[in-house]
């Protein structure tokens, strides 16, 4: 036990002085992750706000013949923009395809006559479906045009003594049950992704340094001749790795609890729901994951021949725990007892659930913690077994 503490303390001192390790522990998680989050939120806010309220300026061919329509559009913040190069469907299609305009509207020459003589008048919207901005704006214009069309239709029916209501046999209403915090779960899903990353990054260089690095600078062989069992050496090294991971996680959580309440999340219709209680809860939930991650990284790094090779493999390993999270976010998975057996997925789901402030089942919490610890224990046996190989010396 004493030897484990000696090894752990030495690894902490050693790595604390290493700039690369400190950068990945202190800079990546605690600084980079919240900063990136700020940028992401800002972009999202700008996009939502702009597509809903932005004053659009659109080339409308043939607007001269439709004064009423022009006024109707202008009242809904859509202005006709004069472009002499856009004169017909072909030139509009070219302008949109080339990206000069994100979309355009063509009013046919017969528009005014058709309207006067009760024939369907035709308007074409030119847009690019592969471009979300173009599609969004075209949709906005289309819905305004549809409203205009319905208004005229209603007036025509009234003129013939029929109530426009007969044209609306069914009224469809949407009823959105998502709470503001519930909606923020997507954003906070990305947050758990960052947290898992911060945990693994925090310990990555230690896991390499204590295995492949130790071998590369020839310090492993003399270390193995000290009267300390390899199991104790390994446990000392892994505890140092876990400590770095937990420090990285803690600092990242502090970073997020400082940043999140100041982000304009309410503009996205969300409230952050991230308090210091959430941070403490997330820390406790992710702590067993750090143990699992430390053993996994040490195991993989002890297979490799050099520092560089270890870096490559552990870089790939960083992605693995984020796959279940990505999957859960995309498929909008609900937490079930079976999923609590999937590490990283269970932590993700439980943090999300907590943020939504629905109740958390203590059983699921226990399952997540116990299963993760179980995997960590199993992995520790495998890692110790491999650390005892002769081939460890390379």
């Amino acid at each position: 036990m004493n030897a484990i503490i000696v090894v752990c303390r030495k690894e902490i001192t050693d790595n604390f002085r290493d700039r690369r390790t400190m950068l990945s522990t202190l800079a990546f998680g605690p600084l980079f992750a919240p900063l990136m989050f700020i940028v992401m939120i800002q972009v999202m806010v700008n996009q939502t706000v702009s597509s809903a309220e932005e004053r659009l300026s659109v080339p409308i061919v043939g607007i001269e013949a439709a004064e009423n329509l022009e006024a109707f559009l202008a009242a809904r913040r859509i202005d006709a923009h004069l472009d002499h190069e856009v004169t017909d469907l072909d030139s509009a299609a070219t302008a949109v395809a080339s990206g000069k305009h994100s979309y355009a509207v063509i009013i046919e020459d017969s528009f005014a006559d058709d309207l006067d003589s009760d024939r369907p008048a035709r308007i074409t919207i030119v847009f690019d479906r592969s471009d979300t901005r173009s599609t969004d704006r075209a949709q906005r214009v289309q819905s305004v045009l549809t409203t205009y069309s319905e208004q005229i239709g209603g007036l025509r029916l009234l003129a013939r003594g029929v109530s426009p209501i007969v044209m609306r046999p069914i009224i469809v209403d949407g009823y959105d049950v998502s709470t503001p915090t519930g909606r923020s779960a997507l954003v906070l899903g990305i947050l758990t992704y960052f947290l898992l990353f911060a945990v693994l990054m925090g310990g990555m260089y230690l896991a390499i340094d204590t295995t492949a690095g130790e071998r590369e600078r020839n310090s492993l062989e003399p270390l193995l001749t000290t009267p300390v069992s390899r199991t104790s050496l390994l446990l000392g090294k892994v505890s140092a790795t876990v400590i770095f991971m937990l420090v990285s996680l803690m600092l990242t959580l502090i970073g997020f609890s400082l940043v999140l309440p100041n982000l304009p999340l309410d503009e996205l219709g969300m409230s952050s729901g991230f308090t210091s209680v959430t941070a403490i809860y997330a820390f406790c939930l992710l702590a067993p994951f750090a143990l699992l991650g430390a053993f996994l990284m040490t195991l993989v790094a002890s297979f490799t021949k050099s520092y560089k090779e270890a870096q490559t493999w552990l870089g790939l390993l960083l992605i693995v725990p984020t796959l279940p999270v990505a999957l859960a976010t995309m498929l909008d998975v609900e937490p079930t007892q079976t999923l609590m057996w999937v590490p990283s997925m269970s932590q993700h789901l439980l943090i999300i659930t907590f943020v939504k402030q629905n109740s958390i089942e203590p059983l699921m919490l226990a399952q997540s913690v116990i299963s993760t610890l179980l995997y960590a224990t199993l992995l520790s046996f495998v890692t110790i077994k491999f650390y005892k190989r002769e081939a460890l010396l390379g």
Partner: protein, 241 residues
């Protein structure tokens, strides 16, 4: 006493040791010499318990290295090939770490480190990080580290490689001093001159087997050569004296 009996070890198809036997007595410096790839390092690795032999036996102070490696390690000081210091730690911290791993009580450890710093003339670099050390300084610190548990047995793998003349002379002086204190020293080298200048007993190894064994005087007599280097060449090429 270090006793190596019919030691065998292979890595895949390569036979590193093929029945090597020799002895090294306390209070003497035994030089393990042989061409590159003769099995010197493998032999030292088995003695320092980081590797197990396929066949044969190696004992230190009567303890089998594979049966009770921890007991063997308590008696050992090891200077492996390449000093293997922790570059972010200072000289003293490197030495202290090994003292703690050997379980040396902290009060005793302080005085031991003080003694070693004085004896190996480490004063100037004691509190500097190992990052910028010269090869000579690294070897010195690694030697101090190997001596921190006051070992009865000292194993050194190519200790003089990369050292300049002055550093080599210093090293020889320290080893001679340790020998006088009764330490059993086993060192390897592929340079006969190196061994000739230092060793009381010479063990010539070739192809994982013992090629010749004796004091420098015995060997020159046996091979009727004045030059130990010629003895080395003859012994390795299998010329029968």
């Amino acid at each position: 006493m270090i006793e190596v009996t019919a030691l065998g070890k292979h890595f895949g198809k390569v036979r590193a040791l093929d029945g090597l036997s020799f002895e090294a007595a306390p209070g003497r410096i035994t030089g393990l010499v042989g061409p590159n790839g003769a099995g010197k390092s493998t032999c030292l690795r088995i003695l320092s318990t980081v590797m197990n032999a396929d066949s044969g036996r190696a004992t230190i102070n009567g303890i089998d290295t594979s049966a009770d490696p921890l007991a063997v390690r308590r008696l050992l000081g090891v200077l492996p090939h390449g000093a293997g210091l922790y570059l972010q730690l200072t000289a003293i911290e490197n030495i202290r770490y090994y003292g703690e791993l050997h379980g040396v009580a902290s009060g005793l450890l302080d005085t031991t480190i003080k003694e070693l710093v004085e004896r190996l003339d480490l004063g100037k670099i004691a509190d500097r990080r190992a990052k910028g050390f010269s090869q000579g300084e690294r070897t010195k610190v690694a030697l101090a580290r190997a001596l921190v548990n006051k070992p009865d047995y000292l194993l050194l793998d190519e200790p003089t490689s990369g050292l300049d003349v002055m550093a080599t002379r210093d090293l020889r002086q320290w080893l001679t001093e340790l020998k006088r204190q009764g330490c059993c020293i086993l060192l390897s080298s592929h340079v006969m001159q190196e061994i000739a200048a230092l060793a009381d007993e010479i063990v010539i190894v070739a192809h994982g087997r013992l090629a010749a064994h004796g004091t420098p005087a015995e060997l020159t007599l046996q091979y009727s050569q004045n030059d130990l280097e010629q003895v080395f060449v003859d012994a390795v090429s299998g010329t029968v004296p």
